[in-house]
């Protein structure tokens, strides 16, 4: 299959061998079905071993897979009547973020997401899913619109990070991100965020202040990319694999750290292996999330979000440290 990753190679090779043997059996008189059966049993065992012990770095590779479904893939399958809205009304339209209105199970929602391209041409247009300030300002405009019309907001997170560029700094990348964190904290409607690929730093968080945060099983969410961490910590970007393990960036890690609410399971080998199944899995979690948040008053929904973030973080006291009560 196209786009196989390094860690899957043993499985891929064994599969190839089995199919070769099958072809051989069909074209000659020799009956190799006993061997094939044996190999198939081995394949199943190998698949279990490999896919149930996916290492953090393998997940990084899956999260970055060029064929991994993007926000628009999920939007077109999960929602009906999606109407895309453009522009921040100040500077321009940033195609690294898409957003608009749609219906979900027949009810109106606002949906926003980072958007990577599927090929080089689209990636250039969408700046590889790395937004400029106008992208965040468009997102905020749509969120305020959702608040005005009392519809819930769904955000798909999938970015390497906010774009590090001259124009981005000139137009206030910091302020744009900060403003989103500030305003999202006060939204009077439910906000559900789902990390579908890479959740890269402040650029991801700027769409990520939600009542619930869910993560696809093989997505990542981190303060800095593994490469960035490695170059800062050990001055060596090639130690990214080690950084991916140290930084605790996978969905199970974030669940354990109390950041993420639900882990949404993926098909074996990643979401790109089975889009339909992935859509179903997201649908199940998203629907339950929105249902559970629908009973809250405006004040309660803000309070719920406030408390969620207030609880994140770990520290101790000096007295504890030096052994005094």
């Amino acid at each position: 299959m196209a786009g196989d990753l390094e860690f899957e190679k043993p499985v891929v090779e064994l599969r190839k061998k089995i199919s070769e043997l099958r072809d051989y059996t069909q074209n000659t008189d020799m009956d190799l079905s006993a061997e094939i059966e044996k190999l198939e049993a081995r394949l199943e065992k190998l698949e279990n071993e490999i896919y149930e012990n996916i290492k953090p770095w393998d997940r990084v590779q899956i999260a970055r897979h060029p064929e991994r479904p993007t926000s628009l893939d999920y939007i077109s399958k999960l929602f009906t009547d999606f109407f895309e809205c453009h522009g921040d009304r100040v500077f321009g339209d940033d195609e690294a973020i898409v957003g608009g209105i749609a219906k979900y199970h027949g009810l109106p929602v606002t949906v926003i997401g980072h958007q990577r391209g599927k090929d080089t041409k689209e990636n250039i247009r969408r700046n590889f899913g790395m937004p400029h300030p106008e992208g965040y300002r468009k997102a905020l405009r749509l969120m305020k619109q959702a608040e005005k019309f009392r519809r819930p907001i769904i955000c798909f997170i999938d970015t390497k990070g906010a774009y590090p560029g001259k124009a981005a700094e000139e137009r206030g990348q910091s302020e744009a991100i900060a403003r989103n964190l500030f305003e999202m904290a006060g939204l009077k409607v439910p906000v559900v965020c789902i990390v579908i690929g890479e959740g890269g730093s402040g650029g991801a968080l700027a769409l990520g202040v939600g009542n619930h945060i869910h993560m696809l099983e093989n997505s990542t969410y981190s303060v800095i990319s593994p490469e960035g961490a490695a170059s800062i910590l050990w001055r060596d970007a090639s130690q990214a694999k080690k950084a991916a393990e140290t930084m605790r960036i996978t969905a199970p890690d974030l669940k354990e750290l109390g950041v993420v609410d639900e882990i949404i399971p993926e098909a074996r080998g990643g979401a790109h292996r089975d889009l339909e199944k992935q859509v179903q899995a997201i649908d199940q979690t998203l629907l339950a999330s929105l249902k559970s948040l629908s009973g809250y008053s405006e004040e309660e929904i803000i309070d719920h979000r406030y408390k969620k973030y207030k609880l994140i973080g770990q520290y101790s006291s000096l007295n504890e440290y030096i052994g005094v009560n």
């Binding site: 700094e169 904290a185 730093s201 750290l257 973080g313």
Partner: protein
Amino acid sequence: MLKELFTKTTKKKKYATIPSETAKQDVPEGIMTKCPSCKKIMYTKELVKNLKVCFHCGFHHQMNSKERIDSFVDLGSFEELNNGMISGNPLDFPDYEDKLEKDRLKTNLNEAVVTGTGSIDGLNVVVAIMDASFRMGSMGSVVGEKITLAIEKADELKVPFIIFTASGGARMQEGVLSLMQMAKTSAALKRFSDHGGLIISIMTHPTTGGVSASFASLGDYNFAEPGALIGFAGRRIIEQTIREELPEDFQTSEFLLKHGQLDAVVSRSDLRETIASILEIHQPGGINRWQEI
């Protein structure tokens, strides 16, 4: 003869002077400071008296949290909050605890921010001062929580919240928990703001990354000290991505002012007065004060 004289003096120089113990103590390290901008050398004590602003070129030397409190808050009014909070090691990050311990000893601080209540010209405030000498002022769980608690305190006391930022950004060793402190502090500011609270942010050198992309940029009034480095992404990263040279003043206070990100660049000697007059204008009452006329 001239020659004789010359030999005599060189002979004299053969004797080395060993300073006595007391003399050694009289000359503590750092008695002189060299200005990194104009390279001129001056007495540290006098420099501190001048709010650490160079006499010759006006360069603003970094201030630590203690110097900031001494020079900004009314004498004797400062009462520290949550001083005893210290970082854990939530990711079991190698060497993190040692680095924290080293910085605690070096700086006499427990973390990279000092928060407390105090007054400026008699007007009560809650103030948070980040200190770049502790882990480069980076924000982990403790910095995020202390700032959040300080904002909540300002909300409770119904007084303005003033923050001096100085930070390299989110603290790497606490991973995504550091990132989430951006959301936590911003949420606290939003709540405080919705209750009518006044937020003043004063960015000092350096204010970058996750700190610039959260509370530093969220003041009702955003100020910066002259010449401070302020920005989201590092200069080197940007140069690598866009492969072109950046202007010399890129990501300085002056650059931000020019691009509409600041209300003003205020030199340290005018800072206290500027903030005091803003606090005075925001005394409770607002539009109702007009009825008194």
